[in-house]
Amino acid sequence: MNSALEINNLCKSYGSKKALSELTVSFPEGQVTGLLGPNGAGKSTLLKSFVGLVKPESGTIRVFGQQLSWKLNADISYLPDRAKWYKFHTVEHALSYAHKILPSFDLSRAHQMIKMMDLGLADKVSTLSKGQEARLHVILCLARNVKLVLLDEPFSGIDLISRERIIQSIIDSMLDKQQTIILSTHEIHEAESLFDHVVFLDQGHLIQEGNAEVLRQENGSIESIYRGLFR
């Protein structure tokens, strides 16, 4: 199995706190990887470092064999954690803006997803509920024909229906194209059936990784493995 991402000896600290500590890990190509760990495990920092929002002190990151640069972000869809979209846009305006500035953004697919996700094109972003805005964020990421999709906490703090809609759209997206998806989440129970592969982080260290089905065979559900690791 080829790796989409190879991370070697990555270190990043904030003051005296080590966010990533000599982290070496890889993410398989064409699969959905669940990036799991408690708060402060380094999940967000790791995902940010893939798109250059965080500058590690040492170590290397290779994305499809290439070194990081802003050019590479054309092939990466990134959903920032706790982000918001531009308040003054309507949903339709958001799509047309994304179409203009994001390479390989599929506008007609985005419109389909808007229908499926039950959003109104004329709705102002500032009037959307948290769950509705999260759906819009996911559409902006998944309607792109890119090789790598990074979703940082796409389900955090949103309602059940929005969560289910987002899971549906992730499944749809996997059916339509060969993509590598990395998804960090605390909602393991709801998301774990999506994972091909799982990576557990704690305090910037890799503590376990493996194929989700193999782990289930050996140790039971991913959720129970998580409990065992972090209790």
């Binding site: 699969q31 996997m174 774990e192 994972f195 089905e213």
Partner: protein, 129 residues
């Protein structure tokens, strides 16, 4: 454990066991038990993945395995269908029965019961036909 009804199939799904095996076994058992008619169309990979909320790769792997065992056949542009070949079905039934017997034997062994005792137990037990 949650149960999902997809078309003519019911899938109980247990997240503590490999999902691919569960999908595979449910379809095998449904066919062997005669819960679904021969020649029935299987749900599409998309439908099954969406309904069970599982990774489509998992469904695809299970379907490929079924195809390899000739329990299903994929007709171009139409979908995947349960085989109409009775021989294959009876072969699957036999395989599943054999698996069940093997499980039975290993339980007996754990209990310290030997072959003759086990055989006589089978004769004694009521079948409720």
């Amino acid at each position: 454990m949650e149960s999902f009804q997809v078309g003519e199939f019911t899938f109980p799904l247990d997240l503590s066991k490999p999902l691919y095996e569960q999908v595979l076994q449910h379809i095998r058992h449904a066919v062997a038990r005669g819960d679904v008619l021969l020649g029935t169309k299987l749900p599409s990979v998309r439908d099954l993945a969406q309904q069970l909320k599982i990774n489509p790769n998992t469904v695809m792997r299970a379907y490929q395995e079924l195809d390899r065992d000739h329990l299903t056949e994929t007709r171009r542009g139409q979908g995947t269908f349960i085989t109409s070949d009775l021989n294959t079905v009876s072969q699957v039934k036999k395989d599943l029965a054999f698996e069940a017997v093997q499980a039975f034997v290993s339980t007996m062994k754990q209990l310290g019961i030997d072959r003759t005792t086990a055989q006589s137990l089978i004769k004694e037990v009521e079948w409720h036909e």
